[in-house]
């Protein structure tokens, strides 16, 4: 092997000795690249040992000021997120865009067989969403429609088998994953239209999070089953 390894190649060798053909052999004969490898290895070790940083001392007061008054409304924190929003426009527009793409991708029916409300999303909410997606701020009269869209979308997300049901019947995890995959696809399509929309990003991450959780649960179940077998 001639010359030197590129830094990216050396970086790959830190985790996967086979990542670069002849890479390890080269490190044996090239002091320069071996030195880079050692330096990168030390940096990686140092990064993994970085201590926690101290959170700002006054942060809790700021956070507390943004929390609802427990004495006035003790159970308010358990309310669904869309009822907690005070700035409806961007959130609802984002949700409507996702609903629009759910309809466009034809996934509404796929998601909805066990969920009649889901069908309503495709049939009723999409035309409203399509109209409103053209404007940045929904008209006041459209708020009820948007609320329905958001509620339907949320129901699509939260509907389907629960964790307990999935634990009892692992095949339900596949059903849930299919629903989540469709939502992820629709969300990403929507994000391609509004990549900087924080509400849309937030929704996508929520769904991706849940998908990872369900996939992990399925993986554990399969491993456990194979061990028992």
């Amino acid at each position: 092997m001639a010359e030197h390894l590129a830094r990216e190649q050396i970086a790959a060798l830190l985790d996967e000795p086979d990542a670069v053909a002849g890479g390890l052999a080269h490190l044996d004969v090239c002091a320069d690249c071996a030195g880079e490898f050692e330096a990168m290895s030390r940096t990686r070790m140092a990064l993994s040992g970085l201590p926690d940083l101290r959170a700002p001392d006054d942060a809790w007061m700021e956070i507390r000021s943004r929390l609802p008054d427990a004495d006035d409304e003790p159970h308010r924190m358990a309310a669904p997120w869309w009822r907690l929003q005070t700035r409806w426009g961007p959130l609802l527009a984002a949700a409507a865009i996702v609903v629009l793409f759910l309809g466009g991708l034809g996934v509404g029916r796929m998601l909805a067989p066990d969920q009649p409300a889901g069908a309503a999303v495709e049939q009723e909410a999409v035309p409203v969403a399509r109209d409103e997606a053209a404007s940045s701020e929904p008209a006041d009269g459209a708020y009820p429609e948007y609320l329905r869209s958001v509620a339907d979308l949320r129901e699509l997300r939260e509907g389907g088998p629960s964790y307990v049901e999935i634990a009892a019947d692992p095949t339900l995890a596949a059903v849930r994953l299919t629903r989540l995959d469709a939502l992820i696809e629709a969300s990403r399509e929507a994000l391609s239209q509004a990549p900087a929309d924080p509400a849309l990003n937030d929704f996508l991450f929520d769904v991706v999070d849940e998908r990872a959780s369900v996939a992990g649960q399925l993986d554990r179940t399969i491993r456990q089953a194979s061990m028992e077998y």
Binding site: A6, E36, D52, R54, M77, S213
Partner: protein
Amino acid sequence: MSEAQLIEAARAGDQRAMGSLYAAHADRVYSVVRRVVGDDHLAEDVSQDAWVRAFEKLHQFRGEAAFSTWMHRLAVNQAVNRLRSQGRRSKLETAPELRLPVQEPDESVLHQRQLARALDALPDGYRTVLVLHDVEGLTHEEIGDRLGIATGTSKSQLHKARARMRELLAPGRAKTEEAENHG
């Protein structure tokens, strides 16, 4: 009061319980957010948003994972979302103010400061993957899930980030990735 009891009380709106949960996990959350976003002021803002959102979503916490894990995921999501919504910013224009680590300083502090500065100077995408993998210990599969990217993309970003870190920490080295690549 156990953490499970604190969570239950916080769900019911008990702000003292929320405060206790915050106190137990604030440094961990702030650390990952600060390192992902690469900016003190943004980190404070994002951390606060993450905590407020966590308390809003606490009814969704089902206990499959530890609260610390759930909170970590939420904080990372919040940080990545913010970076995406703000777009990429130059990190080389300002020298970041460094927060003191929780541990007492020792002979490695200088190196830690160099690392922190180099991390802050990375492009957002590189830094996010590097922090999640090399600092936080996530696998590429987990990073892919969190960021919505392919495992291969995560690996590629990590390797580029490490190479960039070396350039930032050892700028005197003559060779570059392109010029020194060999067949």
